[in-house]
Amino acid sequence: MLPLSLLKSATGCPILIELKNGETYNAKLHSMDLWMNMSLTDAVRTSRDGNDFWHVPQLYIRGNTIKYIRVPELVLGIVEEERAARQQRRADRSNRSSGGSRRSAGGGRNRHGGRRDRRDHPQWQ
């Protein structure tokens, strides 16, 4: 399981982020990108010593300032569901393309009998 795909699945969940400077943020994950930059909503920022708290309605964190992120365990279940759904979609798609395609020669199919892919580009022949 890739760390970033787990984080992606945690979208909408409450998470805890600790930054390299020791501050922590308890917030709801709104969105994230490949660099672990994140936008959060409804955050509570805790100071380094744990004595001060601020409420921050919306914020953006640059990924490289993060030390670690804690996510609820139920996100692992979400990851599994998403994986199963993706496999199902892939199976459906391959069934559709292999079964019941009795077209005349040519008919939009290439010589492999499948969809056009990179190998059919002139450069690859």
Binding site: P3, K20, K67, R70, V71, E73
Partner: protein, 116 residues
């Protein structure tokens, strides 16, 4: 001749690449020492190219010279994504031995943070 990589394909599934050394740790119990000197123990579920890792059922072990070791864990937020930048050491833990070891009452010195 085609310029195929020489390495045999292995369990890594990556074309021609040597398998990543972290693959050995996946789904095992590991200890992680972070740059700030903390010790985290958890089941490693995954990792990526930049050594970000996922630890499930993660607890922190806190060592102090004159009081017994404490484990800090949380019921709700116990899956960690640790950023690769912050990792100093990852090591496999023999769960059987670790379970037998009675950690209660053990003391130790804290690990100093990494200085850059």
């Amino acid at each position: 001749m085609s310029a195929k990589p020489k390495g045999k394909s292995d369990q890594s599934g990556r074309p021609g690449g040597r398998k990543s050394m972290l693959l050995d740790f996946v789904n095992k119990r590991v200890g992680v020492i972070t740059n700030d000197g903390r010790m985290l123990v958890g089941n490693m579920l995954g990792y990526d190219q930049v050594c970000n890792i996922v630890l499930d059922k993660c607890v922190e072990r806190v060592f102090e010279p004159n009081q017994p070791m404490q484990t800090i864990s949380s019921d709700s937020l116990n899956t960690f994504i640790i950023r690769g930048d912050d990792i100093a050491v990852i090591g496999e833990i023999d769960s059987e031995k670790d379970d037998k070891e009675s950690w209660t009452g053990k003391t130790g010195h804290p690990i100093k943070p990494v200085v850059h």
